[in-house]
Amino acid sequence: MSSTTWTERVRARIEHTVPPGEALPDHQPAYVSSWIYVFGVLTLAAFVVIVVTGCVLSLGGVDWRHTSTTGHFVNSLHLWSVELFFFFFFFMVIHLWGKFWMAAWRGGRALTWVTGVVAFLASIATAFTGYLIQTNFDSQWISTQAKDGLNSVGIGAYFNVLNTAQMVLFHVVLLPIAVGLIAVVHVILVRRKGVVPPIDAQEPVA
């Protein structure tokens, strides 16, 4: 009786999840022809810029932006990459609305939608904690205002927005890891299931 190694099992699992050629296909269904598809990729690209600028910002520490023009500029890069990612230029929000109007959860893609929404909500939490750790007037005001909402439903007892050290760790470690992992699962699901066909489209006759 032949035994299956752990390595073979992991490989089989990976190949089952995303069959060979599906991870980075060089062809797409003919109906994938709209600018709306670009916003998913733009969201991912903005996320990469956020992570890179955030890592550079981490090199100088929390106060770097206050004490150095370089630190302040890197902080500006980080801020604007977040604005682009999210809302100001609408990458993620247009992606979300686009997928809603395409009813992109059809054909067994509900989990793809769910992971996308979770990534959206986790991204909001991540951005919010970024505003709390600015160690300036804005973070003083935002944290003292935000505490009441979180305290009112019991979250504030364990997630103290006034505790800068706790928020720094949430912002640079826990939440980015969560967003990154959810985004990876989301992209894997997109690749595995393929791009959702147009509403009411019939399968082509062979």
């Binding site: 980075l24 296909p25 060089d26 062809h27 797409q28 269904p29 003919a30 994938v32 022809s33 709209s34 670009v38 990729v41 690209a45 903005a46 990469v48 810029v49 600028t53 932006r65 206050h66 302040h72 500029f73 902080n75 500006s76 604007w80 990459s81 809302f87 230029f89 929000v93 809603f100 109007w101 395409m102 009813a103 054909g107 067994g108 893609r109 769910v114 929404v117 505003y131 007037f137 003083q140 005001w141 935002i142 003292t144 909402g149 305290n151 009112s152 439903v153 504030g156 007892a157 364990y158 103290n160 006034l162 505790n163 800068t164 720094v168 066909p197 147009p198 509403i199 489209a201 082509p204």
Partner: protein
């Protein structure tokens, strides 16, 4: 009807892998998107920078609004300050807000215990009483008084300050015990810049400014500064930031509820808004499973714009197709 029967009845979504394909360079698309985002980010950062208004220190507060520090100290002693009467997670002075009658705030418990009178005022003053006989006497008088007497003195002084527009020099004679001496000594201590460290939970490292922020927020100076910058709670405050910057526009819906009744007039507004936002977030998450909501994209044909090339090609294919056999059924 069983789930399986419903699935048979509903038009199935076609398998995306069965459609004709065209060449599509995903890596090139991502690289171009990345370059575009980098260029935009650098351009925006150079053009607009980012806001960075210096934090208000307790010393700044004392120098800019000394009477507010005196009034805040008296309110901490009387139990009238925001922190002293807050409830969980800082103390048990109140139950806190409820969501549909459920006291989530109370259930979460007191996880950051703060005795506002002692932690914010008395203990810091004790730390510096050595060189100030008048302060030492005031602290002794305070310590020897009963809790009720302390509350009465401080409450009287808070009322008197309110009547005197928070100016200690204009306060009428009254039964205040040593509260005026303590409050003015507290303002002098804050003005020296020594108060930050004295209320920092005896930590050499200052990573947790919870107490400092709560104390600052108990005064009116911080809010006055925020309102002057259009950041008040009724000015869509939390989603904005200083200067002409976009702030956190993704919080617009959360902030919106605070601007309209019943939330804008409710003592339970925070819990109500959080409850509503959790419900709406759950609905967004579960759209694929909610009949009605999940059908909206089919009823409002915006998808016709997204896939307009595909639908046009399908119409042309139907128009140019050879006539179907007479007994065939054409699905539409």
């Amino acid at each position: 009807m069983s789930t399986r029967a419903r699935r048979r009845h509903a038009a199935p979504t076609a398998d995306s892998h069965t459609f004709p394909t065209r060449r599509y360079d995903l890596v090139k698309e991502f690289v171009l998107a990345l370059v575009g985002v980098v260029v935009l980010t650098v351009g925006l950062a150079i053009a607009f920078g980012s806001p960075d208004e210096r934090a208000i220190s307790l010393q700044d507060w004392a120098k800019a609004a000394p009477n507010d520090v005196v009034a805040t100290a008296a309110a901490e002693l009387s139990g009238d300050s925001g922190t002293a009467g807050y409830g969980p997670p800082y103390n048990n002075a109140a139950e806190g807000q409820k969501l549909l009658g459920i006291p989530l705030q109370k259930w979460a418990g007191v996880t950051y215990p703060i005795d506002a009178a002692n932690d914010f005022v008395i203990n810091p003053l004790k730390a510096v009483e050595g060189g100030d006989p008048a302060l030492r006497l005031a602290l002794t008088v305070w310590a020897k008084a009963s809790a009720d007497r302390q509350t009465t003195w401080a409450g009287n002084y808070v009322t008197a300050l309110n009547n005197a527009e928070n100016d200690p020099a204009k306060v009428a004679q009254g039964d205040y015990g040593s509260v005026p001496a303590l409050s003015t000594a507290y303002e002098r201590l804050a003005a020296t810049g020594g108060l930050e460290q004295l209320i920092s939970q005896n930590s050499f490292y200052g990573g947790d400014p919870t107490r400092r922020l709560l104390l600052l927020a108990d005064g009116t100076y911080l809010e006055d500064q925020a309102r002057a910058r259009s950041l008040g709670g009724d000015q869509w405050g939390m989603m904005n930031e200083t200067g002409n910057y976009p702030g956190q526009p993704w919080l617009w819906l959360y902030t919106f509820w605070y601007q309209v009744p019943p939330f804008s007039t409710s003592d339970n507004a925070d819990a109500l808004v959080w409850g509503l936002m959790m419900l709406l977030s759950l609905a967004l998450l579960l759209i694929p499973f909610i009949p009605g909501l999940r059908d909206i994209p089919k009823l409002i044909p915006i998808h016709r714009l997204v896939w307009r090339d595909w639908y046009r090609q399908q119409r042309e294919a139907v128009r140019t197709a050879p006539p179907a056999p007479s007994d065939a059924t054409i699905e539409t």
